[in-house]
């Protein structure tokens, strides 16, 4: 069933996109022409005036802010011999000029995808994020304390949230329409999020300050190139030129983790807050394992050394030039804090060893690794021994001279990525298909305690958002908290809690909690019991025995903000760098849980219906039989009684008729005729006819 849906959507997508692209070109040009022509006709002025008018038009457009597009790529070696590639494309649609506001629908977009702007206009979206993810971000190894892990690490499958700028009663309707539109745009079964059982409205544990938010996930959505292609279509150069040319499908989908994200926000005009432009941020985050290259030959411990890589070895392609429409086209290489400090150590050691004073600040030729291309600029963080960013602007590369950034490791270096305050993981407890328990375990990370031990009584705030589908029937009163392996009273740690319990077949259960732990806490486990629901056979998916997914819980740390601080001001132009520097709250997603639910026998409906109905018939028939059975004498008596009754009735009727006849012989002539007919029309028959007539009359009356 699900696959069927997908197929229809793919078709509709291709139509939809085709149409849109045609419409954008046609409508815009024709609209402009017609407007001009009308004005010309009405004015009927000589060509000079036309020229003046055109000049005026041009000047008008030039004063208006231009739409901008930037493309950036961040590469980062990860501690576990993998490489993170983070593509970041940003399209800005500037705020509308006051004159254009009325005709916002037929607005011309040079770079900004029109389908997205139409979406925003139509559903009054304030902010929206859609992500397609495959694989799970490894918070322990790949880091959990930078903006990439808290903004771009997403739960598997599809995640969509949107904030609407509509009155509260229209939010659900807008959400439903939005899911269908996105489903068509991105060729995915996002339309499943339409059903009220799949989305929810968290109030404060997730993206709190934005307003009427709706949040939904589809953990089982398979993400593939059919989702990437429409996403690439939103870019002005698609994947034909520029950085997106690197997106070789096999190498992307071979990766350990890839997450393709689309983020929409409204940018408010600083002059007056009312008019707003759209910022469309498209990112693709890939974690790939570079294939082993022949690295440094002069090392003994060659197995321990990180694999050297280059862009061509990762993606199988090289950058042959920038997207000409892009305002900014940069590639960055990010060496994170742990790596840099290790490098410094290494440098010191080698410096000591060789007594060679080259200066520790010269990171371009450091001892740990070698870059194949010399970076144009190096951004270092303000603090000492903190992360370094190598910047490579892509401008002068052409088809003949391609850009291929490579990294050659010279020494084996072991480092670790910055950890989040707590590792969060979630697991199921219990066996069998009747009940179970969900446990969210929070473990402190080594770095945190060291960092925060300075303060005396520091508190660690944790927000938990847990959404469970309705067929996982959670007993909220069984919520238990075990801190440092000792059960604790909830009230000591829970600052705030909001529960909206699930309604069968209507809405999922949402639990939002704000917890506060002492910093010296080692581990905490939240557990909550549930019963497994039983569904109607139509509600099971085709592969019912695989189980059902509980979407990821979201653990956020409102007091911690991930963000790098670079010294020089030049990066303000680059959206990626400003994103990296932005103080975003640390956020992590837990695992998706797979809950097997008991299945009925899918082949049985007819048997069950017939057997049950037989049992009921047996009950009804045999009981009625017992009740109306007469034995021996009773039967005789009954016959007598019936006869008596008939005699009695006849007697009564004859009396009645006699009375009637006696009284109304002269007054009512029809009476005798009726009484005479009563001799051959039995009273029983009349009664029956009357009853039937009464029923018919009542039926007629009530059916009207």
């Amino acid at each position: 069933m699900r696959r069927g849906h997908r197929h229809t959507h793919c078709k509709c997508v291709s139509n939809f996109n085709g149409e849109i692209s045609v419409v954008t070109v046609k409508s815009l040009t024709t609209a402009n022409f017609q407007r001009q022509r009308k004005r010309l006709q009405s004015m009927a002025l000589p060509p000079l005036c036309i020229l003046l008018f055109l000049v005026f038009l041009l000047s008008a457009t030039s004063t208006q802010q231009e739409e901008e597009f930037t493309e950036e790529l961040l590469l980062k070696p990860l501690p576990d011999r993998k490489v993170l590639a983070h593509f970041h494309f940003q399209s800005d649609s500037p705020p509308l000029a006051a004159a254009d506001e009325s005709s916002s629908f037929d607005r011309h977009h040079h770079l900004f995808p029109k389908s997205i702007s139409q979406l925003v206009q139509k559903y009054h979206i304030k902010a929206m994020e859609l992500s397609f993810t495959q694989g799970r971000w490894n918070y322990e190894r790949w880091g959990g304390f930078d903006s990439i892990s808290s903004c771009n690490a997403k739960p598997p499958g599809v995640e969509l949230w949107a904030v609407f700028d509509v009155p509260p009663h229209q939010v659900d309707a807008s959400w439903k329409n939005l899911t269908h539109s996105l489903s068509g745009l991105f060729c995915a079964s996002i339309n499943f999020l339409e059903s009220s059982t799949t989305y929810s409205a968290p109030e404060w544990a997730f993206q709190s300050a934005l307003g009427s938010l709706r949040y939904g996930t589809l953990p089982r959505e398979a993400v593939c190139t059919e989702n990437l292609t429409p996403w690439l279509k939103l870019l002005p150069c698609r994947d034909k030129a520029g950085l997106s040319y690197l997106m070789d499908r096999p190498s992307i989908y071979r990766s350990f983790y890839h997450s393709q994200r689309l983020h929409l926000t409204m940018s408010t005009d600083p002059s007056d807050g009312s008019r707003s432009g759209i910022i469309l941020e498209q990112t693709l985050t890939v974690v790939v394992q570079p294939s082993e290259q022949k690295a440094g030959m002069n090392h003994v411990s060659e197995t321990k050394i990180q694999p050297s890589w280059s862009m061509s070895s990762i993606f199988g392609r090289k950058i042959s030039g920038r997207c000409v429409l892009a305002k900014l086209s940069n590639v960055y290489l990010h060496a994170e804090r742990g790596l840099v400090s290790q490098l410094e150590n290494l440098q010191k050691n080698t410096a000591k060893f060789a007594a060679n004073d080259t200066g520790p600040e010269d990171f371009r030729r450091n001892a740990g690794f070698e870059l194949s291309v010399t970076p144009e600029r190096v951004h270092a963080e303000l603090e000492k021994s903190s992360s370094i960013l190598y910047e490579y602007p892509i401008k002068e590369y052409t088809d003949t001279e391609q850009f291929d950034l490579g990294l050659m490791w010279k020494h084996p270096i072991v480092w670790s990525s910055p950890h989040g305050p707590l590792y969060a993981s979630r697991f199921l407890m219990g066996s069998g298909n009747e009940r179970g328990a969900i446990a969210i375990s929070l473990k402190s990370t080594p770095g945190l305690v060291a960092a925060n031990n300075v303060e005396e009584r520091c508190k660690l705030k944790v927000n938990v958002l847990q959404i469970v589908p309705w067929y996982v029937k959670v007993y909220y009163h069984t919520l238990q908290l075990v801190v440092d392996e000792r059960p604790q009273a909830l009230t000591d740690f829970v600052e705030r809690m909001r529960v909206s319990p699930s309604l069968d077949k209507v809405s999922p259960g949402v639990m939002e909690m704000a917890l506060q732990f002492p910093c010296e806490m080692k581990s905490a486990v939240l557990s909550i019991e549930f019963d497994k629901g039983f569904l109607h056979i139509d509600e099971y998916p085709p592969d019912a025995n695989q189980g059902f997914d509980i979407p990821s819980a979201i653990i956020s740390f409102p007091d911690f903000h991930a963000g790098l601080q670079f010294s020089d001001k030049s990066q303000s132009k680059s959206p990626l760098l400003s994103k990296l520097q932005e103080k975003s709250p640390v956020l992590s997603y837990t695992e998706v849980l797979l809950v097997p639910l008991t299945t009925p026998d899918f082949s049985m409906p007819y048997n069950v219906i017939t057997i049950t109905c037989t049992v009921f018939a047996l009950y009804f028939g045999s009981l009625l039989n017992v009740l109306q059975r007469r034995v021996g004498e009773e039967e005789r008596l009954l016959k007598d009684k019936v006869a008596n009754k008939a005699v009695f009735l006849r007697r009564v009727l004859s009396k009645l008729s006699a009375k009637l006849r006696g009284r109304s012989l002269e007054l009512t002539p029809p009476a005798p005729s009726w009484s005479s007919s009563s001799s051959f029309v039995t009273p029983k028959l009349i009664l029956r006819v009357l009853v039937v007539a009464g029923i018919a009359f009542a039926w007629q009356y009530y059916s009207q």
Partner: protein, 468 residues
């Protein structure tokens, strides 16, 4: 002799209480409260605790699909689910309430049985069948029924498994006892509360009215009529009943006394408005009475929860095509209502037995049956031990009940826990259980009718003997 008997009875009662208390002390090992046979969505204490928790955190207790019971029960039992005594098992206070409810209902059954016995023997004596009435004195059916109720494994399991059906049963028994002893306010209270708690006892209004109107079970009214005839015939020799005489008979023997019935109806009105007002106050800020009825009675009538129980409807509605769902809902609930009138017509001289039959039927056809319901009707069955002593298939029924109650948990385990069985296995035991109940109803009704026939026959034989 009698004292000895009384002592014996009380030892048995005490023994059952002690057994319950012993079982209460290891509820974790037994884990009865999560058995599908014991706790249905309506009677589970865990759901009640959840509802109470939601209410405490100022959410409507009916906000989720967890609690579907009465708000009064929530306010009474809710605090007990939270309170814990140090070193004692959880829910000890609650289970003590259930033990008390069980004992009280057993006592009420016992008292009702006494009333029935007295009425029965007096009516038999008035018919002149003294030997039969003496016969019946050998078996104190009230005590017997009370002990059956207390020692029935189903009752014990329902009590230890923390199912609120103990309280529902208490209310049903209360209303029957009140009707037997012609206490209209008590009968009305029991009936209103039972209806409020689980809806199905609403049909008991017919036997309760009959009980209040005609008095407890007696042989068919025809016999009294003939008895009067006989007496009249002895004094003045005439063969046919004249109208005047008939009027006299009605007055003397089997008058339908309207006074207690009107009282009952009045008290019913009073109690139900009282309960409604209390409920209204309880759910005032959570959507009012409409929401309450939707969440309780609506939930019962639409069979939304498809989790397995010992009934057959869960699997039926899990499998049936959605298009026909409403139709079958109407059919199955109509099946309960359909049999009310024929049974009431045929058994109107035995209102207590009529109530028993209604209880069996409703506990068989209700949307979420549990063993607590079976416990009630099996206890009441003891009241008619004498009348039903010639019942057919009684051994088969007994072994059937034992077999199903052993097999059903096994099949459930195979299906849910081990995954080696399949839903049909468990459903088969549910079907077998339903069939057993059907046989029980049919056979008990037919045995009761046969008993009446036997009485008639004996009486006619006696009449002929006197005449000749």
């Amino acid at each position: 002799m009698k004292k000895k008997k009384v002592q014996w009875f009380w030892t048995c009662v005490l023994g059952s209480i002690v057994l319950r208390l012993i079982l209460l002390y290891f509820p974790k090992n037994l884990n009865l409260s999560s058995r599908p046979e014991v706790s249905t969505p309506l009677t589970s204490l865990r759901r009640l605790a959840e509802g109470y928790w939601l209410k405490q955190s100022s959410v409507s207790p009916y906000a989720g699909s967890m609690y579907h019971g009465s708000p009064l029960l929530l306010t009474l039992l809710g605090p007990l689910t939270v309170k814990r005594i140090e070193g004692q098992p959880d829910h000890l206070l609650c289970s003590l309430v259930f033990v008390i409810a069980d004992v009280v209902s057993a006592m009420l059954i016992c008292a009702a049985g006494e009333k029935l016995k007295v009425a029965c023997s007096s009516s038999l004596q008035s018919l002149g069948l003294h030997n039969l009435s003496e016969n019946s004195e050998r078996l104190p059916s009230g005590d017997f029924a009370a002990l059956v109720y207390l020692w029935n494994p189903f009752t014990i399991v329902a009590c230890v498994g923390l199912s609120t059906s103990a309280i529902e049963n208490l209310m049903v028994v209360l209303s029957l006892y009140g009707a037997c002893s012609r206490l209209a306010p008590l009968a009305a209270f029991g009936w209103v509360m039972a209806t409020h708690l689980s809806l199905y006892p609403a049909i008991l209004i017919i036997p309760v009215i009959l009980l209040l109107g005609y008095g407890p079970d007696a042989p068919p009214r025809k016999l009294f009529c003939q008895r009067k005839n006989l007496e009249v015939g002895n004094s003045t020799p005439s063969d046919s009943c004249s109208e005047e005489e008939a009027k006299n008979q009605l007055k003397v023997a089997n008058v339908f006394s309207w006074r207690p019935v009107v009282f009952f109806l009045f008290w019913t009105l009073l109690w139900s408005s009282y309960v409604l007002v209390l409920c209204g106050i309880c759910v005032q800020q959570y959507g009012g009475l409409h929401e309450l009825f939707k969440r309780t009675y609506g939930f019962i009538l639409t069979t939304q929860d498809l989790s397995p129980n010992i009934g057959v409807l869960w699997y039926f509605f899990a499998e049936v095509f959605d298009f026909f769902r409403n139709f079958f809902l109407i059919v199955f609930h109509g099946n309960i209502l359909l049999m009310i009138a024929p049974l009431a017509l045929r058994l109107n001289h035995r209102p207590c037995f009529l109530a028993f039959v209604y209880i069996v039927i409703s506990s068989m056809l209700k949307s979420y049956p549990s063993v607590g319901d079976s416990a009630l009707y099996l206890g009441l069955l003891g009241l008619f031990a004498y009348e039903l002593k010639d019942m057919q298939f009684s051994f088969f029924l007994f072994s059937g009940y034992v077999g199903v109650s052993l097999l059903s948990p096994v099949m459930h385990n195979l299906w849910i826990w081990r995954g080696t069985g399949n839903a049909n296995f468990y459903f088969a035991t549910a079907i077998a259980y339903a069939c057993l109940q059907i046989i029980l109803v049919v056979e008990s009704v037919s045995a009761m009718l046969n008993h009446d026939r036997k009485l008639t026959k004996l009486y006619i034989a006696k009449l002929q003997h006197i005449k000749s």
